[in-house]
């Protein structure tokens, strides 16, 4: 335990020092690693710990991004105030989807598919209703001052992403030690047995999806503040759902560090393919290449390493 704590402290120190030592472009990549790990962790809490695989987690991300953006653009809120409101909205959507789906007894693949459909409904609505400005998307006015949740220096965005990531790790860590987390794992492993043990399965599942939705919505606001633009395709597109699922599955679903490791890995693949494209002119279109690698990794992980890359570390440690 002490060794693990020491490793975490060293890792945190390295993460804190990193942006001071590298050029801005690498700071932004680091920021993306922690940001993706954060939204991946929001998926992991529901999909990994509680076993409620979602294919439409982006619905919370988009709800958060749109809520804070609309509050700012249309109602003139300060983004720091809009942020908790966005999280509340994301939590409410999580609560609603959970109550509807779990009341109907949906499990496994059926739950995964209905979340996908919910995300699709939100995407179409965002595309059609007037207060989201439809397909045009919404633009936030650039005014880079900390009071506006906008920063001139990418280093501050990096530190904020790091903070989010650390908070999400603490939440996941808490799940591994709390009774709530233990109940979630029991539900994941065998829902009927968990019920027989007296666990209120419905209430626990609603609770975890609400928490997960609120977290993911916080990521949505962060994204909107960083890029100052959202549209229905970005905010509710299936790509982000898949990204959240991928980083958790690849790193290790239901583990504390899984999403972070998955996020590192995927960003690494991204950079390698980008580098390949600069060397091999035939590969000028790199986006699909890295996604092909992700897809293959997902298949291999599910088939061969159900506990993700994390299990490699564990196995090694056991042998040593």
């Amino acid at each position: 335990m002490n060794r693990a704590a020491l490793l975490c402290a060293l890792g945190l120190l390295a993460a804190l020092a990193y942006p001071l030592l590298v050029p801005n472009y690498l700071v932004t990549i680091g920021m993306l690693v922690f940001f993706t790990a954060f939204i991946g962790q929001s998926w992991n809490i529901a999909g990994g710990f509680a076993g409620q695989t979602s294919f439409g987690h982006v619905v919370f991300f988009g709800t958060g991004a749109y809520t804070s953006t609309i509050l700012q653009v249309t109602w003139g809120w300060n983004p720091w105030l809009a942020w908790p409101a966005a999280m509340a909205a994301g939590g409410a959507v999580g609560w609603m989807i959970a109550v509807l789906s779990f009341r109907a007894g949906l499990r496994g693949s059926y739950f995964a598919l209905i979340t996908l459909a919910f995300a699709e409904v939100f995407r179409i609505l965002a595309n059609s209703v007037p207060f989201t400005k439809g397909g045009l998307g919404m633009l936030l006015k650039s005014d880079p001052r900390p009071i506006n949740f906008q920063f001139k220096d990418p280093i501050w965005v990096y530190y904020l992403a790091l903070l989010l990531c650390v908070v999400s790790l603490l939440i996941a860590w808490h799940l591994t030690r709390s009774r709530f987390g233990a109940r979630l794992v029991a539900i994941r492993e065998n829902e009927d047995a968990a019920r027989a043990l007296g666990i209120d399965v419905f209430a626990e599942k609603v609770k975890v999806l609400t928490l997960s939705g609120a977290m993911c919505a916080a990521g949505g606001t962060f994204y909107a503040q960083k890029y100052l633009y959202i549209d229905p395709g970005i905010a509710f597109g299936v790509d982000k759902s898949v990204e959240m699922l991928l980083v958790s599955m690849v790193g290790g679903a239901g583990t504390i560090f899984g999403p972070l490791i998955g996020s590192f890995t995927l960003m690494g693949i991204n950079e390698v393919t980008r580098w390949l494209a600069s060397v091999v002119p035939a590969l000028k279109n790199v986006q699909p290449l890295s996604l092909i690698v992700y897809g293959i990794m997902l298949i291999l992980i599910v088939a061969r390493l159900p506990d993700g890359l994390m299990s490699l570390f564990r196995r090694k440690r056991r042998h040593a």
Binding site: T53, F55, L100, S101, R103, A104, G105, L106, G108, S109, Y110, A112, L113, I114, L116, A117, F118, E120, V121, I124, L125, N127, S128, G134, G135, V238, V242, L245, M249, N285, Q287, P288, L289, L291, I292, Y294, G295, I296, M297, L298, I299, V302, A303, P306
Partner: protein, 290 residues
């Protein structure tokens, strides 16, 4: 806007589109009914078949309808091999696992298509595309009518095959009771592979019927996957009759949704039906159990 002639044309157009959806959904429901897996790669495999039809036309000049036998056979072979090499190895255990594997497969297929075929929208210009048939007050494109009829014929042929042939009987036996089927000497793994192959062959046929009036891009799979799942869930997972009825209902819903709610909002009907069916009647119209 509520002109009955207008409505009539909308319903007719929806029916024609639904005819092809039936074919897509029958493949999906067959795979579910026999293997008990949810094939999330269904839309992506359809997209791949559509590109096959497109390139047969572009490179060799084969008419999409003439390509039917080749594409159906090719799709069957592709599905059979895919099952043997990948799906079949992992179709046991937690049901989310196979869903995730087929999700991974669809990511790979979509992006391989993007890498090799590029992101442009591709269409086939058949000489008869501009020919219209007048039915009542509605003008319908000839290729849509041909495709509709062909789809019904293919579905009927598949139904006959399932009812009469030895393999069809074996497939139905495995779908009902796989242990029992194994005990009476049916090679269950082979039946699984053949079923998956037939499911993908349906996609091959659908691709040939879609291409004369539709377009293909690497993201076409996305457009179809939710439609196909909605039809199957609406009809009842694993039910053939359900897939047929569901296909027509969804075709009409989409067409009328587009007419009354507009291009953007009109798509919402399909997702809403999907959600409502799962929440209120997960067994669908014809399903025995969810």
């Amino acid at each position: 806007m509520f002109d009955p002639a207008f409505l009539f044309a909308g319903v007719l157009n929806g029916l024609l589109a639904g005819g092809i959806y039936v074919l897509v959904a029958v493949g999906l429901t067959l795979i579910y009914g026999v293997l008990h897996i949810i094939n999330f790669a269904h839309g992506s495999l359809l997209m791949l078949a559509m590109y096959a039809v497109f390139y047969l036309w572009r490179l060799i000049g084969i008419d999409p309808y003439a390509a039917l036998p080749v594409v159906i056979a090719g799709a069957f072979g592709f599905g059979f091999v895919l099952y043997r090499l990948l799906i079949g190895r992992y179709n046991h255990g937690r049901d989310e696992n196979i869903l995730l594997i087929t999700l991974g497969l669809s990511i790979v297929i979509d992006n391989v298509a993007l890498l090799f075929f590029g992101g442009d929208t591709q269409t086939i210009d058949v000489p008869y595309a501009g020919t219209f048939v007048e039915i009542g007050a509605a003008f319908l494109p000839l290729p849509k009518i041909i495709s509709f009829a062909a789809s019904l014929v293919i579905c009927a042929a598949l139904g006959l095959y399932m009812a009469k042939s030895d393999m069809g009987k074996a497939i139905r036996a495995v779908a009902k009771e796989r242990q029992g089927a194994r005990l009476v000497g049916i090679d269950v793994e082979n039946v699984f592979a053949v079923s998956y192959g037939i499911g993908i062959a349906c996609l091959g046929a659908a691709a040939c019927l879609l291409m004369p009036t539709y377009y293909v891009t690497p993201s076409s799979g996305h457009a179809f996957v939710l439609v196909a799942f909605t039809i199957v869930v609406l009809g009842g997972m694993g039910s053939f009759a359900g897939a047929a009825v569901g296909g027509f209902i969804i075709g009409i819903t989409e067409s009328l949704g587009g007419l009354f709610l507009g291009e953007q909002l009109g798509q919402i009907g399909i997702s809403l039906i999907f959600i409502l069916i799962l929440l209120l009647k997960p067994t669908g119209l014809f399903g025995s159990k969810a």
